[in-house]
């Protein structure tokens, strides 16, 4: 039996070995190394830290070591994970849709298809919001105005090419408007975008629901639609699809193993994450953070990544960004 100290002192291969034994029965992993290609405090970091808490609570893992390598939506961290973490069977990277977009927009030669997909875990729906006094009552009102003259409907959101911009591009495309024609006003984050929306400087705003939640509760903003496939518990808004706009977008997050891990290591990791995803501890975490659980593992997840890369790449091209 390896002690924690021996494992930490030893090479990563030992970590892999201990996992080999774990695949059949739910044996505890001594040390899980997590790679977060973003700064502490952001969505991926919160995911990693929530995973740490839930994995410990369910006794699936004894210790977790988190490494943050922030920058450019993950484009700085990914090369490091690909090269320096190669073949480490006890390592996981947290990443998501934002990385797919930022790799394409930054014309990186790398892609998320180069790492080993383990599981998609959570998704955050985007919300389309307007100021309290806006003439738009439904998402269709908004979409019709967009169709009539996209230049007259300025929409606030996060940085260009991000999830918010992509959703606006998708809505425009669904309405038959060229995505490159949209009048997108990029702000440096949900906070400033919300302020612009509160001051009615823009016609509408798109961001993760969490950014607008406080203002919606205070009655200063109205949510017209959410971008998920189904309605979300606790959010009083229909989906875009219900209102006749054929668009669905989740800001999803998941975990990946490094390239070069063997099948046994991959299966062990997948089994561990599947157990976690089914636990009530993880369900509680997701409820508290207002994340929707959209677990997807194995080959299906790999296929999803490939599709998502094509889909996001297409809309970024039409927005004139990739």
């Amino acid at each position: 039996m390896l002690t924690k100290r021996e494992l930490m002192a030893g090479s990563a291969a030992f970590g892999g070995l201990s996992l080999l034994g774990a695949s059949s029965q739910a044996q505890t992993v001594d040390l899980l190394k997590m790679f977060v290609p973003a700064a502490p405090g952001g969505g991926w970091d919160q995911t990693a830290r929530s995973l740490e808490a839930a994995l410990r609570a369910t006794k699936l893992v004894n210790g977790v070591q988190i490494t943050n390598v922030p920058g450019a939506g993950g484009a700085v961290g990914l090369p490091q994970f690909l090269n320096q973490w190669k073949g480490q069977g006890n390592a996981l990277m947290v990443a998501g849709m934002v990385m797919v977009g930022s790799l394409l927009a930054n014309k990186s030669p790398l892609s998320l298809t180069q790492v080993t997909p383990i599981a998609r875990l959570t998704g955050e729906a985007e919300a389309l919001c307007v100021p309290q006094g806006s003439p738009f009552k439904t998402a269709m009102d908004f979409a019709q105005a967009l169709k009539a003259d996209p230049a007259k409907v300025p929409v606030a959101g996060g940085s260009a090419g991000g999830t918010d911009h992509i959703l606006l591009g998708m809505i425009a495309k669904a309405m038959g408007v060229a995505p490159s024609k949209v009048s997108y006003v990029a702000f440096s984050g949900g906070g400033p975008a919300t302020a612009a929306l509160l001051g009615s400087q823009v016609a509408a705003g798109i961001s993760g629901y969490g950014e607008f939640g406080e203002q919606i509760k205070a009655g200063k903003l109205r949510v017209l639609a959410v971008s998920s496939d189904k309605r979300i518990e606790g959010i009083d808004a229909p989906t875009l699809k219900e209102q006749g706009i054929d668009v669905e977008l989740f800001n999803w997050r998941g975990v990946f193993a490094p390239p070069g891990v063997n099948d046994a290591q991959r299966n062990a990791m997948t089994a561990m994450i599947e157990k976690l995803a089914a636990s009530k501890e993880w369900a509680e975490v997701c409820k508290r953070q207002e994340w929707t659980q959209i677990t997807l593992t194995g080959p299906d997840y790999g296929k999803f990544i490939a599709e998502e890369t094509t889909r996001i790449g297409g809309i970024l091209k039409e927005l004139g960004l990739a």
């Binding site: 700064a39 502490p40 405090g41 952001g42 919160q46 943050n68 390598v69 922030p70 920058g71 450019a72 484009a75 700085v76 090369p79 927009a105 930054n106 990186s108 230049a151 007259k152 300025p154 940085s159 260009a160 090419g161 911009h165 009048s183 997108y184 006003v185 990029a186 702000f187 440096s188 906070g191 400033p192 919300t194 302020a195 612009a196 509160l198 001051g199 400087q201 823009v202 969490g210 950014e211 406080e214 203002q215 509760k217 205070a218 200063k220 960004l321």
Partner: protein, 505 residues
């Protein structure tokens, strides 16, 4: 009345022994780093961010706010006694304060700045308490076009402080703007000036530039001149009690400085520097003895010192109510909120009442502590300035390096830090001002983004800057500030030769 009750409740939180201790630690540490040139509140709070994993949020923010307020107090001591601003917000204080100290009135200068800081800090904190909701409504009326006009006004006022050589000042300002443009453009997602280095895609952190210029550059400069003598610390002379005349000349500048500092601090990119400069020029204009300015006028210390403390209070308003950081320090405090999973916003005052009101009450308590720390105990801080320069600056270099690495753990940032530090040394050596670099780096990209946001919203119609009442008003002010002095000079030079000729002017 509601705010008053909440405030009382806040005092109950802030007056617990643990929180009092954090407040004392914060204000003491803040004064110390304010006194030491090269260390600022942004750097210090960044170094202390890891404690957010161990300490409960109320305590952490009481500590951070104490550091922020304390630095504003401590910075003036160094400006007055050493003629080296301890903080960028106390650059102006050095202009008159050091002259006062040289003429044996250091005590009065320190007293007027400490009492002025106390008055402004207390009024500013009262402002947060009662005006925060009103300020929010008012600030929300500002759209991108209005912000752009505000940036233009800021640029115009900045040109007034570029130093003796306008060319050097402009070079520094535009270098700062260029630094600010590095990275992915917000509006189009395209990389600019990144030279294929992925670490540059997110832009250069303003903290690294500030630390590089102010800490590393300063250290190199001091080291290069060490043999040829060190800075002269003016001994503490003159009574710490102000005379009746000094009181009479101080109280109005305190109030005017507060009136300038609080609202400007609350505006994005307002910061602490602009109101201190505005206050200085306002006092110079209003003074009955303008000839004293440049030789040690007490108004020139009282006004700007009140302005910088009031702006520190002002900065907290948009940060707490909107989650909008308007200074580097506030940006770092915001990341501390985020690491607790707290989203500052209009509902923060309700959802985190204990935290917010405890923090506000601690600001009142902190102000009293700071007055005590900075007047009766001033001798202690002066002694700190006597720490042998090699030890002090070596220490600063170590902290600057660790602190920078601690922010991102990126080796690229360390290389940048020393590159910028080397440049900072050259700038000091050849008499280029360094403050405009930081101002340009913060204001330049903000002005650009606001301009383009305004243009997107107006669908490309540039008249939006003149048709919005707020924007138009600010632009007229900017034009007056720019052309006013020149027109006046032109008119006078036109009149003078005209008179001997017996013209009807």
């Amino acid at each position: 009345m509601h705010a008053f009750e909440q405030l009382l409740h806040g005092f109950a939180v802030a007056l617990t022994p643990v929180n009092l201790m954090w407040c004392l630690v914060g204000t003491t540490l803040g004064t110390a780093i304010g006194v030491l040139p090269g260390l600022g509140p942004a750097l210090t709070i960044a170094l202390l961010l890891p404690i957010t994993f161990k300490v409960e949020p109320t305590a952490a923010f009481i500590l951070f706010a104490g550091i922020y307020y304390g630095a504003m107090y401590g910075g003036s001591t160094t400006s007055i006694l050493l003629n080296t601003p301890g903080e960028s917000a106390t650059i102006v204080t050095a202009l008159e304060g050091n002259k006062m100290a040289r003429s044996g009135r250091a005590g009065a200068a320190l007293a007027t700045s400490a009492i002025g800081s106390f008055v402004a800090g207390t009024i500013g904190t009262l402002g947060i308490t009662f005006l925060a909701p009103i300020v929010v409504d008012w600030a929300l009326k500002f759209g991108p076009a209005d912000y752009f006009a505000l940036m233009l006004l800021a640029f115009v006022t900045v040109t007034a402080v570029l130093g003796s050589s306008a060319v050097r000042g402009m070079a520094a300002l535009f270098f700062g703007i260029w630094l600010g443009l590095i990275g992915v453009d917000l509006q189009t997602g395209q990389a600019r000036f990144t030279f294929g280095v992925p670490e540059l895609l997110d832009g250069i952190n303003v903290i690294i530039v500030a630390v590089g210029l102010f800490a590393v550059g300063e250290t190199l400069y001091v080291a290069s001149r060490y043999k040829s003598g060190t800075d002269e610390i003016i001994p503490l002379k003159g009574s710490l009690w102000m005379t009746r005349e000094e009181w009479a000349r101080s109280w109005k500048p305190w109030l005017r400085g507060t009136a300038l500092g609080f609202p400007i601090g609350a505006m994005p990119a307002g910061g602490a520097e602009i109101p201190t400069f505005l206050s200085y020029f306002l006092e110079k204009k209003l003074s009955t003895k303008p000839e004293e300015f440049g030789r040690g006028a007490i108004e020139g210390v009282a006004g700007p010192e009140a302005a910088n403390n009031a702006s520190a209070a002002g900065v907290l308003v948009p940060m707490l109510t909107l989650g909008l950081p308007t200074s580097a320090t506030a940006a770092i405090m915001l990341s501390a909120f985020q690491s607790y999973g707290i989203n500052p916003g209009p509902l923060l005052f309700e959802s985190q009442a204990q935290l917010v009101w405890g923090l506000i009450a601690s600001l009142f308590i902190g102000n009293v502590m700071l007055l005590v720390l900075n007047l009766p105990m001033i001798g202690l801080w002066v002694k700190m300035l006597r720490i042998p320069a090699p030890l002090l600056y070596a220490g600063i270099l170590v902290f600057a390096t660790i602190g920078t690495y601690g922010i991102t753990q990126s080796p690229v940032d360390l290389v940048l830090l020393y590159l910028i530090g080397g440049l900072g040394y050259l700038m000091r050596r050849y008499d280029f001002p360094t403050a405009p670099v930081i101002i340009g780096m913060i204001l330049g990209p903000l002005a650009e983004q606001n301009f383009r946001q305004a243009m997107t919203i107006s669908a490309g119609d540039w008249t939006v800057f003149f048709t919005r009442p707020i924007s138009a008003t600010i632009l007229v002010l900017a034009l007056l500030a720019l052309a006013g002095p020149k027109l006046l000079g032109f008119w006078q030079s036109f009149r003078m030769p005209a008179e001997p000729m017996g013209g009807d002017a």
